[in-house]
């Protein structure tokens, strides 16, 4: 799918900053403006970045954080690729991207990411690089190209004012029965929306006998053989969907709107610490509650990556390191601070103080979040990004038509 890049590799410039010489990185980063490209759709997350990371970077490192909101991370990826292909090997516009999955794979394949830096950050010691959900990003080894920011897990959201927990579907098979009983009350965002992709990938796991088959590299023959079951399922689902499947909402934001206004009965979330921030913002009704399928939901990590042509790689490293500070990870986890993002570090690698602080946050999660243990127990891994690309493409063909 992705044509090999014609020009010579750009990564590994001799004068790229070396995190091993951390003092040198920090002193070089002083006075730099850090262009962080990230999805800008959540005002709570934006505010967290601006009000928590920004002041720390400014005060402690003299780095000016310039958060650049994009409507879709793909825009930022595309930008890096275009720049590099247009011959701009240095001084690129993007210093740091919030990224994962197929976007990571794309940049990796285009050799457009700075290599071999993340594991050498001082705070990399808090990261469990061997855990697959951290060390593999959609099956692709992170291998020093990315540094974790946090983790997420797919969850469904229902309105407890409309249903009791016992009435909810607990698997894709159950979902089909449920939509037959509640026609027009369910839909999912159209891929290539991230949440839409994830919804159909989970279905793919369940309908093809589990994720285990798909771990490892892309099995195109297996995919071709097994994926029709998914399209059959989605086509069977379609007539019972919102508007009989003639249209799909374009994004999670739209799905949330449909849910909140009672047009449909479920929406999705990715935040392990729950939907408190969305409820507080008035995006979701106060009676909303998350739930998961017994057959599992996909959990993964998201990362910060530095483009190979970044103008300010040192500042980027400083920030990637900063966000791993246990204290800031705890702040990010606490829904009261507006985000509720999962941890990017491992509790077992922390000192007692830090661990207790984070556990306190986890214990304090209310009914707008699921038990961490429950989430853990149903967590499914991501698989190679090629599956995402293939599912996305075939969905267009078999479902959207």
């Amino acid at each position: 799918m992705l044509v090999a890049v014609a020009c010579s590799p750009i990564s590994g410039d001799g004068d790229a900053a070396d995190p091993a010489d951390w003092d040198g990185v920090v002193s070089n980063s002083r006075g730099q403006q850090l262009n962080l490209f990230m999805w800008g759709g959540s005002s709570e997350i934006n505010r967290f970045v601006d009000n928590v990371y920004g002041p720390r970077l400014e005060a402690e490192f003299g780095i000016h954080l310039n958060r650049i909101p994009v409507a879709d991370t793909v825009d930022a990826v595309n930008k890096v690729l275009s720049e590099i292909q247009a011959g701009r090997r240095r001084g690129g516009a993007v210093d740091l991207i919030w990224i994962n999955g197929e976007n990571f794979q794309t940049l990796r394949q285009a050799d457009a990411l700075l290599a071999d830096w993340s594991r050498r950050l001082p705070n990399a010691r808090f990261v469990d690089w061997d855990a697959p959900e951290v060390g593999l990003d959609f099956g692709l080894p992170v291998a020093g190209f990315e540094s974790p920011l946090g983790s997420a897990q797919f969850q469904f959201v229902y309105d407890s004012a409309r249903f009791g927990p016992e009435e909810l579907p607990r698997s894709y098979a159950g979902l089909l029965q449920w939509v037959e009983m509640h026609p027009g009350r369910f839909t999912y965002p159209a891929p290539p929306d991230f949440h839409g992709n994830r919804f159909i990938k989970q279905a793919f796991y369940e309908l093809t006998g589990g994720f285990e088959r798909w771990l490892g590299g892309f099995d195109s023959a297996g995919y071709a053989e097994s994926s029709p079951a998914l399209w059959d399922y989605l086509q069977e689902l379609e007539p019972h969907l919102w508007r009989k499947g003639t249209s799909y909402p374009p994004s999670l934001a739209e799905l949330n709107r449909l849910f909140a206004n009672g047009e449909i009965d479920f929406t999705f979330t990715q935040l392990p610490a729950g939907i408190e921030a969305d409820v507080a913002a008035g995006i979701l009704p106060a009676t909303s509650r998350p739930f998961v399928f017994d057959t599992g939901t996909i959990g993964d990590s998201h990362y910060l990556a530095i483009p190979a042509n970044a103008a300010h790689p040192e500042a980027a490293m400083v920030m990637a390191n900063l966000v791993l500070e246990p204290e800031l990870q705890a702040a990010k986890l606490a829904p009261a601070n507006g985000w509720g993002d999962g941890l990017g570090i491992s509790l077992s690698l922390l000192d007692d103080d830090s661990r207790r602080r984070i556990e306190a946050v986890l214990d304090d999660l209310g009914e707008l979040a699921l038990e961490p243990a429950l989430l853990e127990s149903v967590r499914l891994p991501e698989v190679a990004a090629e599956y995402t690309v293939a599912l996305e493409r075939d969905w267009q063909q078999y479902v959207r038509r």
Partner: protein, 297 residues
């Protein structure tokens, strides 16, 4: 489209001075615009690729035209722009005709019609979601008076294959445009012409058919071409209000342009070139029509 000089042209000006005056504008607008179109064309033909070798080929066009996606998108986009242009044109003329006496002598009418002038289509589209959505304000009003028993019973205007909210947004924005232009064209002369025609025995319909309409046509036609081109090329409105299928051409082009697969870029630019070709065609048809009106202005 340019106004002819009322106080006569300056026949005496030296040609060199005329060109000196034109040059700055030409030197900025033309290169940027021409370069943009030329680069779009080149990239659609496989030249200057972001990935792979530069090789002249019609692959992008072949791929596009052999699949059904482009054709459906083309049909949908044409339907959206033609529909909204015609609707806005009709309503604009009706409003101008109804308003021309009400507001003669006061500028309130013209001012009123300019109110939504500074509102970007992006804002208009966002407002349409809240107004026309199945759980939007209109649906709530309908629900509160018992017309519907839930959002699903409200007609699907947003994300619908018929693109009705898109058309509504365009019409909302373009009706004042047409009305303003029609009001200006009617001016004070239309009354005289219609009066004369009436005394010559033309009834209400014939006056409209033989006097008012011919007076409006020469100004409304170019305006319609502008609106057609604009609605054909606007990206934000179909993106925010359009369904997942069919996709308007600008949305399709943008999706391909920002596709992670950089190899899809030539197709994105090819769609852009097709859009330009269709708009050019519309302009040519207008010029052809315009010849029939030659001497009418």
């Amino acid at each position: 489209m340019f106004a002819a000089s009322r106080s006569g042209l300056d026949q005496v000006a030296e040609p060199s001075r005329v060109w000196i005056r034109l040059l700055p504008a030409l030197m900025v607008v033309v290169p940027v615009f021409v370069v943009a179109v030329a680069l779009a064309l080149a990239q659609s033909l496989g030249l200057l690729p972001l990935v792979g070798d530069s090789r002249l080929s019609l692959d992008a066009y072949r791929n596009l035209f052999s699949g059904g996606e482009l054709w459906r998108s083309l049909a949908f986009t044409s339907y959206l722009s033609l529909g909204s242009t015609a609707l806005a044109l009709g309503l604009g003329v009706v409003i101008a005709l109804a308003f021309r006496h009400l507001f003669s002598g006061s500028r309130f009418g013209a001012f009123m019609l300019q109110l939504n002038l500074p509102v970007p289509h992006l804002v208009g589209a966002l407002a349409m979601v809240l107004l026309l959505g199945q759980s939007g304000l209109l649906a709530r009003v309908a629900g509160s008076v018992g017309l519907i028993d839930g959002p699903a019973a409200f007609p699907a205007l947003i994300f619908d294959p018929g693109g009705l909210a898109i058309i509504a947004e365009y019409v909302w924005k373009e009706v004042p445009f047409f009305a303003l232009i029609a009001l200006a064209a009617l001016g004070s002369v239309a009354d005289d012409f219609e009066g004369v025609a009436a005394t010559l025995g033309a009834g209400r319909w014939r006056r409209f058919r033989h006097v008012t309409l011919p007076l409006l046509a020469p100004v409304l036609l170019p305006a319609a071409v502008v609106v057609f081109a604009f609605t054909f090329g606007t990206f934000e409105v179909p993106l925010l209000l359009g369904g997942s299928f069919p996709e308007a051409m600008p949305v399709l082009a943008y999706r391909k342009f920002t596709n992670i697969d950089l190899a899809a870029r030539p197709e994105a630019l090819a769609i852009g070139i097709v859009m330009l070709a269709i708009i050019t065609l519309a302009a040519l048809i207008y010029l052809r029509l315009g010849r029939r009106f030659a001497g009418r202005q």
